[in-house]
Amino acid sequence: MLNRTVSLTALVCAAALPLGASAAEGTLPVTEAAQDTLVVVRDAETGKLRAATNEERAALQSLRASKRAMATSAVAATPQLKRHGNGATGVRLTDDMTSYSVMVRRPDGSLEELCFPTRQEAEAAVAKGFTAKSELPTK
């Protein structure tokens, strides 16, 4: 049975374009979906996702510092292709493609737990908190 593993690093690097350009052209490399340059936050007033300000970006990068120390992060940063002898194709995913649970303590002391589909959204929620009911439209 033939098993073959191929690193995608070269593939991804060759395709690495500025995010706006690559998404607009119809392709988003998996590694770009997790780059630090893709920092977004949910605006407290509009509730919409927007690019982070420099201050917000700095705060988030500070939050990420501890994670960078994780020994496994370098290994997991790039998807890894697998070929099976029976024709099946597999991919070992990355931490950016898993679900994240976040807990936020509200000003009244209550806790709210939410699950996010990507690390970026989870980290934005940690930094900014969830959209509270008081942030619902008021008029």
């Binding site: 998404a23 977004v40 690390r119």
Partner: protein
Amino acid sequence: MDKSIKTFALRASVLAALCAAGASQAATIVIQSRDPAGVGFNDTTPVAPVGGNPGTTLGEQRMYVYRYVADIWEKQLASDVTITVNAGWEPLTCTASSATLGSAGAWNIWHDFPNGKPGTWYPQALANKLAGFNLSEGQPDDGSGFGNVDIKTQFNVNLGKTDCLDGSPFYLGLDGNAGTAVNFVETLLHELGHGLGFSVLTVYTGSVSGAVGYRLNSDGSAYQAVGGLPSVWEQYMYDNTLGKTWLDMTSAERKLSTTNALGLAWTGPQAVAGAAVTLTSLPVLKTATSAPGYAGYYAYNTASFGPSVATGLTLGSLAVVPSDAVNGAGCLAFDTATSAAVAGKVAIIDRGVCGFAVKAKNAQNAGAIGVVIANNQGGAAPGLGGSDPTVVIPTISVSQTDGATLKAAVAAAVPYGSRKAPGQVTASLAVDPSRRAGADALGRPLLYTPSTLASGSSVSHWDVSAFPNLLMEPNINSDLTTILVPPKDLTRPLLKDIGW
């Protein structure tokens, strides 16, 4: 025949029948720690047994919960291939008032394997079950030591410490009495659900807006606007507005569908059947009137101010506050005629110009006993934000369409009374026995597709309108149990729909 021989023969025949039918045995889940000495599962800090967890060190208690949750999942799933869950405790992002609790997900995915739908992405644990063997067996490791596992998990080793959701560590008991701590059983149960297949997984739904709806390509290197392979989920994701499944949509249509509030249903037969016996009847605004054709049920939303409302509340007779293109309906103190119209009644007021709470307070000052805000734009009934502790009458909202119907009903009812007592429309909060809370009009459970104002934007959960609360809603609610099947929950039915 000797009883033991008969029993053996019966078991043998049952086993043979199961084998002939391709039946799988109950799943086996192995927990594989990647923690170094003294950390996480290996933390030797002494602790007292808690809530049914007999561990006497922090590490022992953490592993006991993992094993407890894995045992729950083993009873729900069938597979001849061992499921391996890699687990570690690591420093994740924190502030004093918020924290990433942890994450989990399928660590390997496959397409075009034996017994799978061709050209379709599956999480490895499910792909292995369908194929009947471990697809990653013999694959070179990626250098991590766990590159071939089915599910990778990590949880926050610092939770509850200073500057990491201070004072709220994981509760490691099994009895749900988490108090101000974080219920680890439910959190892990939920996250392992994602890793086992409760996720659209390979369709991008993250924060890069331009790429939402893209599919992962066949070698897993990029999400693509055109092409790419569908997730095994997509066949059952039916958008009631677009009238098609995600399988038949363009990436632009899938993007629209991710924010089509209450518009995306799961059509898998197991979950639909389960919803019929699990979800309760839908809470609605119920109207009664003598005017033919105007009595009915209307979806409503609630306000962050005023008294809380619940099914069973009698609101009263409806009255209409006139529109005001300049100042906004209900934004100024009510004039004499309007005050007379709403006194002792529930005022229907169009949304716009001023705050919801302002409108409610003006109605209250005029003698109204309740308020219905009619949306002034398309979409569902909006949640009503704002604050005014002096508002003591109940306020709810309805959609623009339903608001127009209610106003028409008030006008239509007038002739069905006398000159001294014109016909009226009375309103109360009730349930629609023909609808289910968290399901579409056909009883199909809804996936979570919030509008942009809501937190998160994942379709990989049940909608938050489901009642009773379900394990796989985006909010981990405090009233959840560890039961994953109807009539308590819909987790296992969905997993069975995709092949478990």
